[in-house]
């Protein structure tokens, strides 16, 4: 009798614990990449206010940030994300491959192939541009030092590498050998590779290394705001890559937690007028044409290409550039 009594107390305690943790209100976990922290800090309260205004109760969105691929692997290993918001689609494809955490047709579930915003790869140089860095060719000049995050571990670095490659292809009439030569010359100017976008920023701004930092437009704008407008200039190259940030609902987590509706509403909010406006405020290029027009002053028109339209898609890029022993390894090995 006493055993069953204790068992009952234990079970009640456990249940009440689970209740206070889980069922008090709706919570979502958004697992995201490294430099989207500031964006979701503003998005989440706005979404919660809208959710509450629609009489759906209170909702809290928790955040987890880190290197994009590392975060995707954490979700694959069981980090219970309701939604993932990444900066490159391979990180979401990985979740499709690993036991179908994300539906295979995730790109059809939301508008614009499930990418609420884009960013472009730009250069950040020291005030007054003392080394006269104007375009990609300048980065490969001898004597220039370029800071880039590691393409193997960070989406940001991967886009930088692909931007350099893509523009060289365009310039030399799709001659892969010439492109390889150019990218090799550029990476010869890279003194060290940081693990993630933020690490590279800190190296350039705080430790004062390098003549140019190659990073996303939004990160460059944030640096100007946070660290001082008078220390750096943003340089838009003649042509660059457009990076679309994909989002997806993690199906089997939301099914288990009963949060499908909330998770879908959350991601839909990113595509709403209000969401797009917050996105533009953080210097990400919104998809909504009206919002883009409103903030046109922030987003200079620049000629861009994408992985899909110029480089044969992510699967191809992954295979020919970033697989072990593929082009990227060959280029950096020769340093």
């Amino acid at each position: 009798m006493s055993i069953s009594f204790f068992y009952r107390i234990f079970a009640t305690a456990l249940a009440s614990f689970a209740f206070t943790v889980g069922a008090q209100e709706v919570t979502l976990l958004n697992v995201s990449y490294d430099v989207s922290r500031e964006l979701y800090k503003d998005i989440n309260p706005a979404f919660a206010a809208e959710w509450q205004a629609a009489k759906k109760g209170s909702i809290t969105v928790n955040q987890s940030h880190g290197g994009s691929s590392k975060q995707a692997l954490s979700v694959a290993a069981g980090l219970e994300a309701d939604v993932v918001t990444m900066n490159q689609s391979p990180d979401i494809d990985l979740l499709v491959e690993r036991g179908g955490l994300v539906a295979a047709d995730w790109q059809q579930r939301f508008p614009y192939e499930a990418t609420p915003y884009t960013s472009v790869t730009v250069f950040l140089v020291r005030k007054g541009n003392p080394k006269g860095i104007k375009d990609w060719a300048d980065l490969a000049r001898p004597g220039i030092s370029v800071i880039v995050p590691n393409p193997k571990t960070s989406g940001n670095g991967r886009y930088t590498y692909l931007a350099a490659w893509g523009q060289a292809l365009q310039k030399h009439g799709n001659d892969a050998a010439k492109a390889k030569q150019f990218v090799a010359a550029l990476f010869k100017n890279v003194p060290m590779l940081d693990g993630g976008g933020r690490g590279a920023t800190t190296t350039f701004t705080q430790r004062g290394m390098g003549d140019a930092l190659v990073t996303f437009e939004n990160e460059a704008a944030l640096i100007a705001r946070e660290i001082g407008e008078n220390q750096f200039d943003v340089v838009y190259p003649s042509v660059t890559i457009e990076a679309a940030a994909p989002v997806a609902v993690v199906e089997n987590v939301t099914r288990q937690r009963g949060t499908q509706a909330a998770a879908t509403a959350y991601l839909n909010f990113l595509f709403s007028k209000a969401g797009q406006d917050i996105i533009a405020q953080h210097y990400f290029r919104p998809r909504d044409p009206a919002v883009l027009k409103k903030y046109a002053a922030r987003f200079p028109v620049v000629r861009t290409f994408t992985v899909e339209n110029a480089l044969g898609g992510w699967a191809n890029v992954q295979k020919t550039h970033f697989a072990d022993g593929a082009l990227y390894d060959q280029i950096t090995e020769r340093r």
């Binding site: 490294d34 922290r37 928790n62 955040q63 940030h65 954490s74 069981g78 980090l79 690993r98």
Partner: protein, 330 residues
């Protein structure tokens, strides 16, 4: 460690921080200073310099002292001072705001809770293991001692990954079981506690084993001969003998439990306000260009460490006073 009180008037931040820096330097300087005075006291000089081995030219002594003191200042005092001056760069207002922000508060709570769970567990285990190893002879004792040391020799990151492999709901050994009962270990508080317990495992046992070995078994044997049972022997004889060593081990264990980064980082999942410990929160703030807040939380960790060290010195001093000389390990 003296507590730094905010001044009444609204002096600006840089003045404050330099003031705090001076205070810290003075306190630490005084600790070093007393040793210096003792060293140069003539009584000691006459006592030591009768021995040829200690009769060195004054400049040699001065050089060696200057070298070691500047090394001490450069590698220990400067970083400490830097943490506090960075933390107070934007003034006490910003410092206080950074600490009472909900995410910071929850990280402080989680860190204290983790330490509060890890400590008693390791206390019981450490005493049991040390008792077993030091007072009994058995086959495989050497292997047991080596295993106790394992968390010291394994990199904390590996320790974290091991827990991922075992408890991950997707790929872990216990994955199906955890999924079936909807339990979460990694990417949740239990995983953080487990990782912390693992890395702080050896501290107490390691502290006690040499002490108990040096003390030998005679007193316990005498107690048994006089008719004491096992518990009586432990509570009345063994525990009083080891209490200062035990306290010292607990303090070291606590310092590590609160400061652990590597292993916890792997299993935490970095969910703000839920699974962020103080060291992880410092990293997050730093990566968000929130340098003042990052150093504010870091300074709190440093204060906890200084407090721990102060208690440690007191324990050492106390142990030296109470323990008979042959039972001391250091």
């Amino acid at each position: 460690m003296s507590i730094v009180k905010p001044a009444e008037n609204n002096a600006n931040g840089s003045e404050m921080s330099s003031w705090a820096k001076t205070l810290i330097l003075t306190v630490l300087g005084r600790m070093v200073g007393t040793k210096l005075i003792v060293l140069w006291e003539s009584r000691h000089r006459s006592r030591f310099e009768t021995n040829a081995a200690t009769r060195e030219a004054t400049w040699v002594k001065a050089l060696i002292l200057a070298l070691s003191l500047s090394f001490f200042a450069l590698f220990l005092l400067m970083p400490l001072a830097a943490v506090f001056s960075e933390a107070l760069r934007k003034g006490w207002e910003a410092y206080w705001l950074a600490l009472k922000e909900p995410d910071a508060l929850s990280s402080i709570k989680l860190t204290l809770m983790t330490a509060a769970i890890a400590l008693p567990l390791n206390l019981v285990f450490g005493v049991a293991a040390a008792w077993c190893v030091a007072k009994f002879e058995f086959r495989g004792k050497q292997i047991l001692t080596t295993l106790i040391d394992l968390p010291f020799s394994v990199s904390p990151v590996i320790a974290g990954l091991v827990f991922m492999l075992i408890f991950s709901t997707q790929q872990g050994w216990f994955g199906p079981l955890l999924r079936a009962y909807d339990l979460k270990i990694v990417f949740a508080v239990p995983g953080i506690v487990l990782a912390t317990v693992f890395v702080t495992f050896p501290f107490i046992a390691r502290e006690l084993i040499p002490l108990m070995q040096a003390q030998g078994r005679e007193e316990e044997e005498a107690a048994v001969v006089l008719g004491a049972n096992g518990w009586q022997t432990f509570w009345r004889v063994t525990l009083p003998n080891i209490k200062w060593g035990l306290l010292y081990g607990v303090i070291l264990c606590n310092a590590r439990a609160m400061g652990e980064f590597g292993a916890v980082s792997v299993v935490s999942g970095h969910i703000r306000g839920m699974t962020n410990t103080m060291p992880l929160h410092v990293e997050i703030l730093y990566n968000e260009y929130n340098f003042a807040a990052a150093f504010a939380v870091a300074s709190l960790l440093a204060l906890l460490a200084l407090l721990t060290l102060a208690i440690k010195s007191w324990v050492e001093w106390k142990a030296e006073q109470t323990a008979p000389p042959e039972a001391r390990t250091e």
